[in-house]
């Protein structure tokens, strides 16, 4: 789709941001975000219950690029490389995925209160994961089941929406709520029949979300869908802009509303399911991060999507740092994102006065 055709829309969408982001300053913003992300990553590597000097962390990282004199212990190296690094990468990628999914869905539904849970994907993925745990399947299957059931949940929601004869956004939201409720009740049923000594704690802990056992293989599991879907959604950024103006306007501008909607929905479903499969259920990220980004760059998805991803990654890395340093055990990520998310969301609503959605 030619971006020139929609320059007037982009001007309107940009004007809704708190800070008016011009083209040059946007690239500066991207560079700043990249720098903040790198600094967050280094900060996260230096935080933890095992005390490691900041200089040691820098040296261990540099040693991957050039040969330098090793003056650190094997334990320090393993803590950095095997314990902290994989989980930081997974946390960052999950944060980016959830934020990307959230911003795409909010644009599609023209509603800032929409999150991944609205289309039922989170509940479906949760059910898939707990079924795998209940059946005592190898850990790899937890990810596969979560992913498959996440996508199945979306397809169920689509079928319900279609069978109701509704082609509009509202019927899909209602179908999503129905699907979500159905899969949530199935999760409750699984929890009821699970053995409370071993299976139930595993289910509960997984459902609350954690990067505790993140490995480099998980980085690949989340990176591949993020890259694929990220490209698709970014290619459709202008379509999302038009869809966020309303279905009638979009149709009149030659957009195939139905096809575009399903492509975006399926893409975000894949993203969310992939995220749930490696980390369990992490709420609020897909809801609040796009808001935050919208306050900075406005509602133009060409700018909103990359900034959302950066903020999502930074946010979830910091939340994970908090989760693993605040106590001897590990506070589940989902618990922290909910505790932080609710007041942050309230503050964002107050600050923005739903700025960026005035054209609705």
């Amino acid at each position: 789709m030619n971006s020139k055709d929609y320059s007037d829309i982009r001007v309107e969408l940009n004007s809704n941001s708190i800070f008016l982001v011009k083209k040059n300053s946007y690239f500066i913003l991207l560079a700043m975000m990249s720098l903040i992300l790198i600094l967050t990553l280094i900060f996260a590597l230096s935080m933890g219950r095992y005390s490691i000097n900041f200089s040691t962390i820098i040296k261990v990282l540099i040693s991957k690029l050039i040969d330098i004199n090793i003056d650190w212990s094997i334990t320090e190296q393993q803590v950095i490389e095997s314990v902290r690094m994989p989980r930081i990468l997974v946390a960052g990628l999950c944060g980016a995925s959830l934020a990307l999914g959230g911003s795409a869905l909010q644009g599609l539904f023209r509603n800032p209160l929409v999150g991944p849970q609205v289309i039922g994907v989170s509940s479906g993925a949760a059910f898939g994961g707990v079924i795998a745990i209940l059946l005592m399947l190898p850990d790899f299957y937890i990810a596969i089941f979560a992913f498959l059931f996440g996508v199945i949940a979306l397809l169920v929601a689509m079928m319900i929406a279609k069978s109701g004869g509704g082609k509009n956004v509202l019927s899909l939201v209602l179908a999503g709520i129905v699907t979500s409720a159905f899969f949530t009740s199935l999760v409750s049923l699984v929890k009821y029949v699970a053995d409370p000594n071993n299976t139930l704690p595993s289910i509960v802990y997984w459902l609350m979300g954690s990067f505790n056992e993140s490995r480099y293989t998980d980085v690949i599991y989340i990176l591949l869908p993020l890259l694929t879907v990220g490209i698709i959604i970014f290619k459709m950024r202008y379509v999302i802009n038009i869809l966020s103006l309303g279905e009638e306007e979009a149709s009149s501008m030659g957009v195939n509303v139905n096809f575009s909607r399903w492509v975006i929905l399926l893409s975000t479903a894949i993203l969310i399911a992939a995220s749930v499969s490696v980390s369990g259920i992490i709420g609020w990220v897909g809801l609040i991060i796009p808001h935050f980004a919208r306050m900075i760059v406005g509602s133009n998805h060409g700018k909103l999507i990359p900034i959302s991803m950066f903020i999502g990654a930074i946010y979830l890395i910091l939340v994970d740092v908090f989760a693993r340093t605040v106590s001897y055990g590990e506070i589940p990520i989902g618990v922290i994102t909910a505790i932080f998310g609710a007041p942050i969301f309230a503050w964002l609503l107050y600050k923005s006065q739903l700025r960026g959605w005035r054209h609705d």
């Binding site: 933890g48 219950r49 095992y50 005390s51 094997i74 334990t75 393993q78 803590v79 490389e81 095997s82 314990v83 902290r84 994989p86 745990i133 059946l135 005592m136 399947l137 190898p138 850990d139 937890i142 009821y192 029949v193 699970a194 053995d195 409370p196 000594n197 071993n198 139930l200 704690p201 595993s202 802990y205 997984w206 954690s210 505790n212 056992e213 490995r215 693993r324 106590s327 001897y328 055990g329 590990e330």
Partner: protein, 383 residues
């Protein structure tokens, strides 16, 4: 020690053979929950809230153990498959025992239980479920139906409650001599451990970590502080690194990094070969009866391959071990205690033989010859 054992065995055999020692009813028993239960006649049909405590019946009834079991939860099948296979082989009638649900999860159907044929007249319930059964009115329902309930405990406070549990059940069913024989054996072995430790007053306390249900799920690390197998650690003059983080709780979660930071000298994986409903192996190290060395090696390697584990000091000194998990809920928990003693203080307990203790207990109390792999050094197992 050997002479003492022979005398004890002889005494026990004599006691068992004398009808004059048959208990006179009514009998009042105090269980480990502090409840007093009066029996007007010896119970014949017994139900177990967890089938993994079946060895308790074997200690009391020997070869007649299965004849007295009418209902049990099927947790042995899933959580201790090698144990189940071993017992099924010896007691085929165990296959036909009525299955009951777990009290804790609300699966237990009181109405169905009361109407079982043959009807249970004694329900042996583990301590973790007894309070719940009291609070939700289950004990009243069972009492009204004429079913007596005794609480036993081999897991929450094993050192204090194992002997008391065996003795109370043995007394209730009119086989006090068997309970006393077990008590003598158990307490003698515990005293022997204490005596050995007392000979080394300047022993440097080792730091120990137990990973609960290792291999069951991806997340690490669930552990025990002052209860379950965690109770063996202070008893063996060692430090449980989970004591401070768990802050009074029996069980809880520690992050891998917290474990690394604590620098444990000894790392013990509490594990078993879990299976699904079809009996196919799924998780964990399949220690136990009739071991499969190849399967044990593969499962051990998988658990030892976790990246973060290599940063643990016990890994670097090759002091990572595995213990057969079902011992945490069994009167044979003495065997686990001896393994712990050997691993924590190898120089002090170099002559200790937990495998022999297990075989001896089975032979003496269950009249069965059994063996298996119930504890291992993970590095040796991978060779």
């Amino acid at each position: 020690m050997k002479t003492k054992l022979k005398i004890l065995t002889l005494c026990a055999a004599t006691l068992w053979s004398l009808p004059s020692f048959a208990a006179t009813y009514p009998i009042t028993v105090t269980d480990v929950a502090g409840r007093t239960i009066t029996f007007n006649q010896p119970p014949q049909n017994i139900a177990l809230s967890t089938s993994r405590i079946f060895p308790l019946l074997e200690i009391i009834y020997q070869q007649d153990a299965a004849k007295h079991l009418v209902a049990a939860r099927n947790d042995m099948q899933v959580s201790a498959p090698s144990m189940y296979a071993n017992y099924i082989k010896h007691y085929p009638s165990l296959k036909n025992v009525a299955k009951i649900g777990l009290i804790k999860s609300g699966e237990f159907d009181a109405e169905r239980f009361i109407n079982l044929k043959p009807k249970p007249d004694l329900f042996i319930v583990d301590l973790s479920n007894i309070k719940l059964a009291q609070d939700n009115g289950l004990l009243k329902k069972l009492a009204a139906a004429g079913i007596k309930v005794i609480a036993v405990d081999f897991r929450e406070n094993p050192i204090k409650n194992t002997v008391r549990s065996v003795e109370s059940v043995a007394k209730a069913v009119g086989r006090e001599a068997q309970g006393q024989a077990f008590a003598h054996y158990y307490l003698d072995h515990v005293a022997e451990l204490q005596k050995k430790l007392a000979q080394y007053p300047n022993l440097k306390p080792k730091k120990v970590f137990i990973e609960r249900a290792a291999g069951y799920s991806d997340s690490c690390c669930r552990t025990f502080a002052n209860g379950n197998m965690g109770a063996y650690i202070p008893f063996l003059k060692a430090i449980n690194i989970a004591d401070k983080p768990l802050d009074g709780a029996v069980t809880g979660q520690m992050s891998p990094e917290t474990v690394i930071t604590a620098h444990p000298d000894v790392y013990i994986m509490q594990t078993t070969g879990w299976v699904n409903d079809k009996g196919q192996p799924t998780h964990g190290i399949p220690l136990g009866y009739n071991p499969n060395p190849a399967a044990i090696k593969a499962a051990t390697s998988a658990l030892m391959d976790r990246d973060w584990l290599q940063a643990v000091s016990a890994y670097q000194t090759k002091n990572v071990y595995s213990i057969y998990m079902p011992f945490y809920n069994s009167p044979y928990n003495l065997v686990a205690m001896e393994y712990f003693a050997k691993w924590i203080h190898p120089n002090v307990f170099k002559d200790l033989n937990p495998e022999k203790t297990f075989e001896e207990m089975n032979k003496q109390f269950g009249h069965r010859i059994v063996s298996g792999d119930f504890g291992q050094n993970n590095f040796k197992a991978m060779q």
